[in-house]
Symmetry: C2
Subunit: 438 residues, 2 copies
């Protein structure tokens, strides 16, 4: 299993940049300072003149770029999935551009799914953007309670209730306005309502913008495990208005950074090095730093998803630290920790185990701990997580196959990982004992 | 809308037989008496020598055929959906052939989903078939309450609970053992559990064997409407052991016949004529008559589904009578009438409306009433269904698009229909008033 997973990863890596393209709106400046991440993150970008041209396009979307006068879209990342392909728009003030949203609405009826925190901030603006100069469209909304602990079947039924009561038909569009929980629930509701209607993602947290809104994983939690019920279902577009981060609490911002760090560790060493240098800028919400981190994260995610939509191998690597992290979230009760907080502690555990196996140098393990500490994220699980609790929850992880728990572990130089069930069980035991009580 | 739907149907009809093939197991007799339905049901079967050859294969699977010594599979109908294609096995005693089932089981863990009526009859036998000479496979089961009124989210959660508690992983297989309700719920559970696991359909009612187990429509009811929450999700195979009909109550048998009649009316006039001649044989459970009705129904369904899996047009025609029928089921409470009973009354209403529109002759309308009466099915809705009740429930039907209710109506000679929103509203009103109280 490990061998085939490893060779899949190796094969995939060699063509990983062919799967996406980044476009600039007309009129965008063609030259700007180029972060090293863009130049070196993907070997195949340097493989041919055509790819080098595409590379320049990516490179030109630099943090210091000014948006063109006619649109605030600073970057478009395409997720290439054949007839299910879609664009990710990234920029400041995109909710002030009605046309962007409206071009992806199908039918005349829209249901906005949001929560009690986000609705007072952005629901009116989104409704305006959907209906401005567009009197044919009518907008309904359903406002769910906020938090991971509501990502359950009872709350999901409220979305179906609203959709049925509003007599929405197959030609309607669901819009997810909020963080990862809203995106996951709205997406699954869109996948299942009338066996599938259109939907649009408007992520308003860094976590959702860099990770959960991209790639079509939707679902809800089961009391015994995270995301155990759901669907692969792709949106019509993802619209990332970076201005929405202005209202995001610090703790939520840090949570999103945990996933940004992940991309560097699993496949993009220059991006990780960029983060080491720019973490204080990210925490200070420096707009160009945030925009670059979001863009590069979406590009990494789009590349992986385009090659392995249904997670037969490569895509699983996006779950570095998540098996430990999900166990923490389930073990201490959904919502007690933010997702990225649990992932941060889980990433440290995965790095620790990789080092115990002799797969990475101590220096890499230390850099993982350092960058997450710098981001003010937890680097150990909560004390209530016992070894036994970890083991029993990890046994129902989706990456178990025929009883064997497969993990994403770091292996080799910075930016390299494997997805494998072939590891010494002793290392896993030692890591669990080092990080939790008996 | 109507024009494009009609032309879609016309275009589809001209190639409708290319989409499926019927295979015979090795050793099956090559010649037998050929029912007229097989020879004339599809114009394109006569179009080329290659197709004629395929036609002979279909034709040779006649009701009087003896199964070959080594297998009781009398017919295999392939549902052609690219990489999601699968076989439908039809024959007597197929549950006594462990290999048939086992070749479609993925992984080592199986969850059989069944109900309190079917479990005492067939669960032991199916468990034996899954595990005979196959000690690596372990079988769990979940036994749901029986009936349409339990096709809801609460009951569905029992399937997820069992799957999670049993620590099933992505390489497991769900098996639906029962009628349409079990197939729809197990299929949706398989689609959503861990975002999709393998599943197998073992339909044990005529309704499920001729219709609901084929084509991948899965889902549950919402209190306000039937099948409003679900997924398109195809099984690995459908295994129809016609012996299971021996335990089916008469009322359930008649319910299934309503769907058999439907195939004749919408696209297969010779099959309808065969039914008119053989209805008493079907009601008397004459094995060869039942086997032929099942085979020809599956072939019709497979042809339609292969051309229009996601119901963008053609597939909707399989819902003749269902918009009225679903309204009856929802209006009087799920389970009060069997699905086929509601469809029968709905089919009479659709024929009545088609006649009022001048789209079919009175003789066809009368033949519809006669054949359903002969099958001992209701030909009028229950008295509690008022015009208002029909209208309010039909407004949330899945075939509403941008507020316009599209219907499947008969039009032209026997065996022809349209799926259209362009009809005189007065005819619909008149039909509703003719069949229900104000």
């Amino acid at each position: 299993m490990a061998a085939s997973a490893s060779s899949l990863l190796a094969a995939a890596a060699s063509s990983s940049c062919a799967a996406i393209s980044s476009r600039l709106p007309a009129g965008a400046p063609a030259a700007a300072s180029v972060p090293s991440a863009s130049r070196h993150s993907c070997a195949s970008l340097r493989a041919s003149p055509a790819r080098r041209h595409r590379s320049r396009f990516i490179a030109s979307v630099a943090p210091t770029m000014q948006p063109p006068a006619e649109s605030r879209v600073s970057t478009v990342v395409d997720v290439d999935l054949g007839d299910r392909s879609y664009p990710i728009y990234i920029g400041a003030g995109l909710l002030d551009e009605p046309d962007l949203l409206q071009r992806h609405v199908h039918g005349k009826r829209v249901l906005v799914v949001t929560n009690t925190t986000v609705a007072p901030l952005y629901l009116e603006k989104v409704t305006w953007a959907l209906t401005h100069n567009n009197p044919n469209v009518s907008v309904e909304s359903v406002i769910l309670p906020d938090g991971e602990k509501y990502k359950d079947m009872d709350t999901l039924m409220k979305v179906f209730d609203k959709a049925v009561e509003s007599r929405l038909d197959r030609r309607c569009t669901f819009v997810a306005l909020g963080g990862g929980v809203i995106g996951d629930m709205c997406g699954f509701a869109a996948a299942a309502f009338l066996r599938g209607v259109n939907f649009i993602q408007i992520p308003t947290t860094l976590m959702a913008q860099v990770d959960s809104s991209v790639g079509g994983k939707t679902g809800i939690n089961h009391p015994l495990g995270k995301n155990l019920i759901g669907a692969f279902y792709q949106p019509q577009c993802v619209l990332i208005d970076t201005d929405t981060l202005n209202t995001l609490p610090d703790r939520e911002l840090a949570s999103g950074i945990a996933e940004v760090v992940k991309y560097g560790l699993i496949r993009d060493a220059p991006f990780f090095e960029w983060q080491e240098k720019n973490m204080s800028a990210l925490l200070a919400r420096e707009p160009s730093a945030l925009a670059y981190a979001i863009k590069r994260s979406c590009e990494n995610k789009a590349e992986v998803v385009a090659q392995d939509e249904k997670e037969s191998g490569l895509r699983a690597t996006l779950n570095l630290g998540h098996t430990f992290g999900h166990a923490i979230e389930t073990g201490i009760g959904y919502g007690a920790w933010l997702h990225g907080e649990a992932v941060a502690a889980g990433t440290v555990m995965a790095a620790d185990m990789s080092h115990r196996l002799g797969w990475i140098d101590e220096s890499i393990r230390k850099r993982v701990v350092d960058i997450l500490e710098q981001a003010k994220l937890p680097i150990t699980p909560p004390e209530t997580m016992t070894v036994e609790k970890f083991k029993s929850i990890m046994a129902v992880d989706k990456k178990v196959a025929d009883g064997l728990l497969r993990l994403i572990l770091l292996k080799g130089p910075l930016g390299s990982c494997v997805f494998t069930g072939e590891y010494d069980r002793k290392a896993l035991d030692e890591t669990l004992h080092a990080f939790s009580n008996n």
